[in-house]
């Protein structure tokens, strides 16, 4: 079996503007990849393009998931194949209770109840008291992040895509989110792509490969903690002149 996700020569446009250029990126089965990059480098655009969010037009290249070409599938079709995404800034939906949202994630009818196990998970995420609140409405930053990860875990995906799960959250929430993600990955053998700006989450999640995305294309690949260390020392400016630039993920 090949990698769980293979992205080949992917180029993406939004409203005619090129946002991603010639992206090559693999996620092996059971492994976690990290994408680093400064603000506006195209990290969220890459996630949106992989997921098939309307408006993100693939103008070149292919996305293969679990051996199947999913480049032109719709968002919900991709999700049903086993890709779960946690957004950086999810919208609020008035009138839709978090409890009902979790049922949708767990593929349950609205008249079914959440199982003991599902409720227990919600409790571990400190979200029991939020279950009957409107999704994301008046949620704090930490509550939104915990709610996003909880939703994705209930979907039991083969591939988790997490957009900045550690930005704007307190220390306890990062520990909680990180350990629950790692527990899920270890238990199920699923894979993950984690976009992170500051890398805090890497203290709790074991990552196997890292990549730096800048100006809509991948500058380098490497061991995540080494890449993070280099960014911390030299900043993203250092990536511009780095000799590793454009090295393929071969090691």
């Amino acid at each position: 079996m090949g990698p769980l996700l293979q992205i080949r020569n992917l180029s993406v446009e939004v409203a005619g503007e090129r946002l991603l250029e010639d992206i090559n990126f693999d996620v092996e089965r059971g492994q976690t990849n990290v994408i680093f990059g400064p603000n506006g480098s195209g990290k969220t655009s890459l996630i949106n393009a992989i997921m098939g969010i309307p408006g993100y037009e693939v103008v070149g290249g292919t996305i293969i998931f679990d051996g199947k070409d999913i480049t032109s599938l719709s968002l919900d079709e991709k999700v049903r194949l086993g890709i779960g995404v946690a957004f950086q800034n999810p919208p609020e939906i008035r009138g839709l209770k978090l409890r009902d949202m979790l049922k949708m994630c767990a593929r349950k009818g609205l008249k079914e109840d959440l199982s003991e196990e599902e409720l227990e998970l919600a409790k571990r995420f400190n979200l029991t008291s939020m279950l009957d609140r409107d999704v994301n409405f008046n949620f704090s930053g930490g509550e939104k992040k915990r709610s996003e990860i909880l939703q994705v875990l209930l979907m039991k995906p083969k591939l988790l895509i997490l957009d900045e799960p550690d930005s704007g959250v307190d220390f306890e929430s990062i520990v909680l989110i990180g350990s629950e993600i790692q527990s899920y990955l270890s238990r199920t053998g699923s894979s993950a792509i984690i976009v992170t700006h500051q890398g805090h989450i890497l203290e709790h999640v074991e990552a196997h490969r890292g990549a730096v995305l800048m100006r809509g294309t991948i500058y380098c690949y490497g061991k995540p903690l080494e890449v993070l260390d280099s960014i911390k020392r030299k900043g993203y400016g250092g990536c511009e002149v780095c000799k590793r630039r454009r090295t393929r993920m071969q090691e």
């Binding site: 997921m51 309307p54 968002l75 919900d76 999700v79 999810p90 919208p91 939906i93 009902d100 949708m104």
Partner: protein, 369 residues
């Protein structure tokens, strides 16, 4: 001849109704008699059923309007046609009276049904919550025929310290003309909550119920949930007039307009007392060629009156649809989930069991569409 016919039409229980009428009545909230404090049913021109459940005997009265006017001479002097005049003839209607201090835990229900093609059903209703009474009323208006018209006039008197929560559910056809008119008088320390749910709208529906908060610490809330499709045209407003010291009002409207429907949503708050306060919230989502015209009005006639409003109308936000699709829903399923959430009955202040029931009606109707 007419009276003889009315006698013939009377029934002794809702289960005697033809199946199609009973089923349509259930869709607008008609519950088992055991789950209600009392039940009234008007079929076409006549009141055919009125009964107070044994548990609540002495706490309330339910009867046809004509019978009530014959029984109580004082109705004409104190209540009937006091808020809404007129001297025209009418085809009965309901009289609901909640006795002083009575706490009626189960809802009372009134069902208005049209089965005769082309009928112009004209009714007058009167609801009195006497001093210190506490009750919930659920009324359903619907039909099983074409080209009908429904004209309902309802007067509410919410007396000192009483609380009345009134929920009206409408389900019409695209050729029905509907003109409900209502007014409520809310006295000292009394609360009137009026909930209106229209799930299958008419060709032409106009209503503009008003509540007059005359008493000190009186309060009136209007909550409207409208789901409008096809070629329907609705003009739905609510008005709260704050006359009493410390009186409060609130109007919340949620409208979903689809197809080629046209909806005017009005809201008018009138602050006459310097110590009055009210808020108006109007939100609408539209799809297709539908049109929503939201008209909020704040009229402050006194320096200290505090009146506010917020209104937002637009199509369903694409980011919300995308968000739900990312949880595995198709675009249609996502749209439907957002509409269901938007028509959230929990704004109506109903007790849990009744809220679940009403939510069920909204779900069922959306499911059938």
């Amino acid at each position: 001849m007419q009276e003889e016919k009315d006698e013939d039409a009377r029934i002794t229980g809702l289960d005697e109704l033809p199946r199609e009428i009973l089923s349509a009545a259930r869709d607008v909230g008609a519950g088992e008699e055991a789950s209600r404090a009392g039940t009234f049913l008007q079929l076409d021109e006549s009141a055919v059923f009125a009964r107070v459940s044994e548990l609540f005997e002495g706490k309330l009265e339910i009867m046809g309007m004509r019978e009530a006017l014959e029984k109580y001479g004082w109705l004409g002097e104190k209540y009937f046609r006091r808020l809404i005049g007129g001297d025209g003839d009418f085809m009965d209607g309901y009289f609901l009276r909640i006795m002083p201090g009575a706490n009626v835990e189960l809802p009372l229900q009134a069902i208005m049904f049209i089965s005769k093609p082309g009928l112009k059903q004209r009714v007058r209703n009167l609801v009195i919550a006497e001093k210190g009474a506490n009750a919930r009323v659920i009324t359903g208006c619907t039909l099983s025929t074409n080209a009908a018209q429904h004209f309902g006039v309802t007067e509410f008197f919410v007396e000192e310290g009483a609380t009345l929560n009134f929920t009206m559910i409408h389900s019409w056809r695209e050729d029905t003309k509907v003109r409900p008119v209502s007014a409520a008088l809310v006295e000292d320390d009394a609360t009137f909550v009026s909930n209106y749910i229209c799930m299958r709208p008419a060709r032409d529906l106009k209503m503009y119920p008003r509540a007059i908060c005359r008493g000190r610490n009186s309060r009136a809330n209007f909550n409207n949930l409208l789901y409008v499709t096809g070629d329907s045209s609705l003009d739905v407003g609510s008005m709260v007039k704050l006359e009493g010291a410390n009186s409060k009002g609130e109007i919340i409207s949620r409208t979903v307009a689809m197809g080629r429907s046209k909806v005017i949503v009005r809201g008018r708050l009138v602050g006459d007392n310097p110590k009055s306060r009210a808020h108006l919230e109007c939100r609408g989502i539209l799809q297709g060629d539908a049109k929503i015209n939201a008209i909020p009005e704040l009229v402050a006639n006194s320096e200290g009156a505090e009146l506010s409003h917020e209104a937002a109308v637009g199509k369903i936000a694409e980011k919300e649809i995308v968000y739900l699709m990312s949880r595995g829903l198709s675009r249609d399923e996502a749209t439907s989930a957002i509409v269901r959430g938007f028509l959230d009955t929990s704004i109506m202040g109903l007790p849990k069991k009744l809220d679940e029931e009403i939510k069920g009606i909204v779900e069922t109707t959306l499911g059938k569409l």
